[in-house]
């Protein structure tokens, strides 16, 4: 690998999965075997994905580090690069730089229960941890996943949701916003915080991982607080505009904290110490 920190790995798109309208998952394989062997990442990290001629875009690695030989990413078409990614097909070559950023402290969480709370397109950053934890299932106690989206079609990872639902060792609750249900919808109807409240989660020896749109996060924290989760046991990831991924380009800092280096994973205690500029 080059010493040039801006050089991406060459990745071939091995598989494309349509997750939801405008949302796709790419499975990426290293073209260069050497790169693959050297490559290592941990749950929570992100990278810079690039379409040559269009540019780079930042999002998390959505696959688990326990699954070797490939990485996966899930993105929604919003800007220039994600639109170009949408036009890519299986077999296309794209660039990937990473991994960057800190990780979910899975080691520290050993022996605890995990409560995942995700909304909309924010499941991908969590999927990485979920699979990581599931692949090391014996390390953890109860694993609960609460996932909500605006409408049924907007739910991502529909196959995996099914898989998780069928597994005996995971409790999965899915919900859609009122009005977003389909006639055959069997999950909950209601906003994530409300559903969470109904679930009355136990906070004892439990870590809550929350990812979602700001409005969801805002109303979820008080619910967790109500059920006795302390700030140190609530984790989330931040997303900020980034260009480099390694603390140089100057965009992502919140106060003196660089989301790309000190984040993207923060617990609520850390988050509360940040100035309100994210």
């Amino acid at each position: 690998m080059s010493e040039n920190i801006y050089m991406p790995y060459q990745m071939r798109i091995e598989k494309i999965t349509h997750e939801a309208p405008g949302v796709k998952t790419f499975r990426l394989k290293f073209i260069n075997e050497e790169d693959e062997n050297k490559f290592n990442f941990r749950a929570g990290q992100f990278g810079e994905y690039s379409v040559y001629g269009v540019g780079e875009s930042t999002f998390c690695v959505a696959s688990s580090p326990t699954r070797k030989g490939y990485i996966e990413c899930t993105f929604r078409q919003t800007g220039k690069v994600t639109s170009a990614l949408q036009r890519c097909e299986e077999g296309s070559v794209i660039g990937f730089r990473g991994p960057y950023g800190n990780v979910f402290p899975l080691e520290e969480w050993k022996g605890k229960s995990l409560l995942f709370i995700a909304g909309g397109i924010a499941l991908p950053p969590m999927r990485c941890v979920i699979w990581n934890a599931l692949d090391l299932r014996e390390n953890f106690k109860d694993i609960t996943i609460l996932y909500g989206a605006r409408t049924v079609p907007d739910l991502v990872y529909k196959h995996e949701l099914k898989e998780w639902a069928e597994r005996g060792d995971v409790k999965l609750v899915t919900t859609v916003d009122p009005g977003g249900e389909t006639p055959d919808w069997k999950g909950e109807i209601g906003f994530v915080p409300a559903v969470l409240e109904k679930m009355a989660p136990k906070s004892e020896n439990t870590i809550a991982i929350v990812c979602g749109p700001p409005i969801m996060i805002k109303y979820t924290f008080p619910v967790l607080d109500k059920f006795g989760f302390t700030d140190e046991t609530i984790y989330t990831t931040l997303e900020n505009r980034m260009k480099c991924g390694f603390g140089k380009c100057g965009r992502c800092n919140v106060g003196n904290v660089y989301v790309c280096k000190d984040g993207p994973v923060f617990n609520l205690k850390q988050l509360k110490e940040l100035p309100a500029e994210y």
Binding site: N4, Y6, I31, E56, R241, G247, K248, N253, E277
Partner: protein, 339 residues
């Protein structure tokens, strides 16, 4: 390496210039154009501007150009051939006439480009650059190097520092680095031995305007303060200050596409522009100019000293001079200190 001191005759300065030129090095030196003095590639010694306080733009361009290639790519049926920038192709450059504040600016710049991950492109460019500094015997009301631990004869960052000993006087040459020494070695007869010289008395008197440590301490709890809005009310949100700043390192990475060929480039960006932090979702963590102004000051005087142990300002005063709306940094920092 202890600083070797030599004397260069005023009349030998052009010979020194020509000698460096003959070694095949590209020389950048201050040159007058449109009433402004700027670093430009200079072929003749006589083209070098002499009567100026400071160049409009800083010398950072040599190590951190406004636009530089990271890689080239060519797409084909078989895939994409990516070629990274050839570091060998970076030419040797001499900057002639760097002011001490400009040379000192490379320290924070290097700190940014090297905290944990090393930016080899930047490093290579800097390695291939020789900085011949000229101390300041004049200053203006925008200068404040002495407030940020610099001084008008500061040698930090320079490879060689020349100080003119009085009007029309000869030059004291301080040989600071190996690169500086190389120049001396190539032209031994131009560098005479110098006796004991107190260069201090030939330097400009730059008054101390504020105390940066005090400001740093104050800024630690200054995030929510109305001063940011007050000060930035007249700021129009351009990137002039960042573009001329010797220590501003914020950049963007962009692809330039021409059919199947193209390049990825790194280019300057400015934290003063509203789109700098704009998310594609429309959310902008620094939506208002006051937030962006706060970021600029905090970055240089709080975050950098905290995270990189170096202040992000060398006191050159370029931002104040370049600002179209007179956002004077001395004035604003003083106000913060006094707030």
């Amino acid at each position: 390496m202890s600083t070797d001191k030599r004397l260069v005759k005023k009349t030998s300065l052009d010979k020194l210039f020509d000698s460096i030129k003959q070694q095949g090095k590209t020389i950048f030196a201050p040159k007058l154009k449109n009433g402004k003095v700027n670093y430009e590639q200079v072929e003749r010694f006589s083209d070098i501007a002499t009567d100026y306080i400071q160049t409009t733009q800083s010398a950072k361009v040599v190590a951190f150009p406004r636009t530089e290639k990271i890689l080239d790519y060519t797409k084909s049926k078989e895939g994409i051939a990516v070629v990274e920038i050839d570091l060998q192709s970076i030419s040797e450059v001499v900057i002639w006439g760097v002011r001490p504040c400009d040379a000192a600016g490379f320290l924070p710049l290097s700190a940014i480009f090297n905290w944990d991950t090393k930016d080899i492109i930047y490093n290579t460019r800097l390695e291939k650059t020789t900085l011949i500094g000229f101390s300041c015997n004049k200053c203006d009301e925008s200068c404040f190097c002495t407030s940020v631990a610099g001084n008008p004869g500061g040698t930090e960052g320079s490879d060689m520092m020349l100080t003119q000993l009085g009007d029309n006087g000869d030059y004291l040459a301080e040989i600071i680095t190996e690169k500086g020494k190389t120049i001396v070695d190539k032209n031994p007869d131009l560098f005479e031995t110098a006796g004991e010289i107190d260069k201090q008395k030939y330097l400009a008197d730059v008054p101390v305007k504020f105390n940066q440590t005090e400001i740093k301490d104050k800024l630690a709890n200054f995030f929510e303060n109305e001063i940011w809005l007050q000060q930035s009310l007249r700021c129009i949100g351009c990137g002039a200050c960042a573009s001329v700043c010797p220590t501003c390192a914020c950049f963007d990475i962009q692809d330039e596409e021409h059919g199947k060929r193209g390049s990825r480039v790194r280019c300057w960006d400015n934290c003063g522009l509203s789109i700098f932090t704009l998310h594609t979702s429309g959310h902008n963590p620094r939506e208002y100019q006051s937030q962006r102004w706060r970021q600029r000051i905090l970055h240089k005087f709080s975050y950098m000293p905290e995270r990189l142990s170096v202040y992000g300002c060398s006191g050159c005063g370029r931002c104040s001079r370049a600002c179209p709306v007179d956002m004077n940094i001395i004035e604003h920092l003083t106000a913060i200190q006094e707030a």
